[in-house]
């Protein structure tokens, strides 16, 4: 019970540190790059008086650290600030877009997990002989194809020729849920193809290396056949590294979605982030960045928990909390 508590505290601490660090670095980055939100908002015609007034209104004339701390105080009291460009509360602007990005990421993740694990096992079982090189070639090809390319290809093939969805015209989850999901589904496929290939390859090589371990020989000496050696012994032992990999993938997906959102015209978080950065819309960028940081830690924690459920030795190491990892 106390180890569970310790674990939770450790993870929460990690989350807090990550978010603080990430938000501070973003703040710092904007301090260092050129650009002035006041100028962007008022345009090139603005008088110096107007600019100074707006800067004062936005609090941009205060010192850097003070600005950061006041943002931080606002964040923890639930006030995410107001967008410079839209003059609206940040959360209201982000919520709907976050929803789309989460849908896109989760759909890709489910596709990756559901397809790559059986495919990895299949790919292990059918090893050797002349089946080897086409498999490797296909795998390499899938890994090398960037999502934006498949995105363009899908837009043309399924969007323009087959008219399954309308590229650039996203229906909206509230307006037409089914059509929206269909649209997102193609994005999810683009995102998942290279990652499926990577996971398949990784699972296959892990299974191969596990097969050479001593416990496999023991399993055979007890009368297990090839299939039960794989299903009862090797697979579970191979899952730890696959789960870790899938955790990283889940963390990456949100960031990787940016390009696909652009190509397929999905008004998600990624697209909004890019425009907000170019408008120097600090409050929006800060919030998105912290959400992404939160997501990364969350994905890591999820992978960690699943791995602990699989491997009892990892449960032990959380009990030795704070000890140097061995």
């Amino acid at each position: 019970m106390s180890t569970a508590l310790q674990y939770t505290l450790k993870r929460l601490g990690l989350l807090l540190v990550t978010m603080l660090l990430v938000s501070f670095l973003t703040f710092l980055a904007f301090e260092l790059v050129s650009g002035d939100p006041a100028r962007t908002m008022l345009g090139t015609e603005a008088t110096p008086q107007q600019l100074t007034a707006l800067r004062h209104e936005l609090g941009l004339d205060r010192p850097f650290l003070l600005r950061y701390l006041s943002w931080l105080a606002g964040f923890f009291s639930g006030n995410l600030g107001t967008s410079y460009s839209y003059r609206q509360p940040v959360w209201g602007l982000i919520a709907g877009k976050l929803e789309l990005t989460l849908w896109l990421s989760l759909m890709s993740f489910v596709l990756i997990a559901v397809i790559s694990i059986p495919l990895g096992i299949f790919s292990y079982r059918f090893t050797g002989g002349f089946a080897n090189w086409p498999r490797t070639a296909l795998n390499q090809l899938c890994m090398a194809v960037p999502p934006f390319f498949t995105g363009i290809l899908f837009s043309w093939c399924f969007g323009i020729v087959l008219r399954v969805f309308t590229p650039g015209d996203f229906p909206g989850l509230r307006e037409d849920f089914a059509a929206s999901l269909r649209h997102l589904f193609f994005g999810a496929i683009c995102l998942s193809i290279p990652r499926i290939a990577m996971t398949v390859r990784m699972l296959r090589s892990t299974v191969i290396s596990e097969m050479n371990k001593a416990y496999v020989r023991t399993a055979i000496s007890r009368g297990n056949d090839r299939r039960t050696v794989l299903t009862r012994h090797v697979l579970k032992n191979s899952m730890v590294s696959v789960v870790t990999f899938l955790g990283q993938t889940l963390a990456e997906l949100v960031g990787a979605g940016i390009v696909v959102e652009q190509v397929l015209g999905i008004p998600g978080l990624g697209r909004f982030l890019v425009t907000s950065i170019s408008h120097r819309d600090y409050p929006v960028v800060q919030t998105i960045v912290v959400i992404l940081g939160f997501w990364v830690v969350l994905a890591g924690t999820a992978a960690d928990l699943v791995n602990q459920a699989i491997d009892p030795r990892l449960r032990l190491s959380t009990a030795e909390l704070g000890g140097a990892g061995s």
């Binding site: 371990k213 001593a214 416990y215 020989r217 023991t218 399993a219 055979i220 000496s221 007890r222 009368g223 297990n224 056949d225 039960t228 009862r232 012994h233 579970k236 032992n237 699989i310 491997d311 009892p312 030795r313 032990l316």
Partner: protein, 261 residues
């Protein structure tokens, strides 16, 4: 009961035969010691008997008969029936020989799951009985433990329990005590002796340590470079070694005078 006749094994990537034509027998209820330095072909011999040779990577000839049934040339499905059921194997490193993610009880009961139709409860009962017979304390608790929670000596007892739970006719012990410290080693030897007399299981005990073999085996076979150089009663071999290599092995045993000097 077990008869090995003119066994040859050669790995494809080696020039020399790993086993160059050896013959020996193990009678019912007998413990034969197989001694030799590393690389002498002891383990390859044991793996041939256990049907664990990587068949595609080696060539082999001769006969290995277990109660008249040929093991060396048996097909996979027959081997699977004999694995665990007729031949139990205990390997050198208990920690790596066990599946780290499977509970102790399940690993000990695996042979029963594969070879019998017993219910889960019946299997558990047999497993607990086997764990008691290898003198593991509190088997009920250990049943649900994972390998990393046990010491090396306990794990080796677990491995022995897993091998004898179904009472096979032959137990192959490939350096079962080498990875353990000396006191534990002595306990395991005592245990094996007890199991042999209680259950009447024949054993092939492999070791590089002649002294260990002497404590357990009535007969011993000495192997060097893939060949048997000497076979006989343990005391006979020990006190009147015929082959110079056997004499070297005996001289390698540290004795009291040498330690004092």
């Amino acid at each position: 009961m077990l008869e090995v006749r003119d066994l040859h094994v050669k790995f494809n990537n080696r020039d020399r035969e790993a086993v160059g034509g050896i013959s020996f027998r193990i009678g019912a209820g007998e413990i034969l010691g197989l001694v030799g330095e590393s690389g002498s072909g002891k383990t390859v011999t044991a793996m041939s008997i256990a049907g664990l040779l990587p068949r595609k990577q080696c060539s082999y000839s001769g006969d290995i008969l277990l109660d008249g049934q040929d093991l060396l040339h048996a097909d996979r499905s027959l081997l699977r029936k004999l694995h665990g059921r007729e031949i139990g194997v205990v390997f050198q490193e208990p920690m790596s020989a066990m599946n780290p993610l499977m509970r102790i009880g399940e690993q000990v009961g695996e042979v029963l799951r594969i070879h019998t139709d017993l219910s889960k409860a019946e299997r558990k009962e047999k497993v607990l009985r086997a764990m008691t017979s290898v003198e593991l304390h509190d088997p009920e608790h250990l049943y649900d433990c994972y390998p990393h929670e046990l010491s090396g000596g306990m794990l080796q007892r677990v491995m022995i329990a897993a091998a004898i739970v179904i009472e096979p006719s032959l137990l192959l012990l490939d350096e079962p005590t080498t990875a353990l410290d000396v006191t534990i080693q002595a306990q395991i030897l005592e245990l094996l002796k007890k199991l042999n007399s209680e259950l009447g299981i024949s054993m092939l005990f492999i070791s590089h340590n002649l002294n260990v073999v002497r404590k357990l085996c009535a007969r011993v076979a000495v192997m060097q470079r893939g060949l048997l150089v000497e076979t006989g009663e343990t005391d006979q071999v020990f006190y009147h070694p015929q082959h110079p290599y056997t004499r070297q092995l005996i001289d390698a045993i540290p004795t009291r005078e040498r330690r004092v000097r």
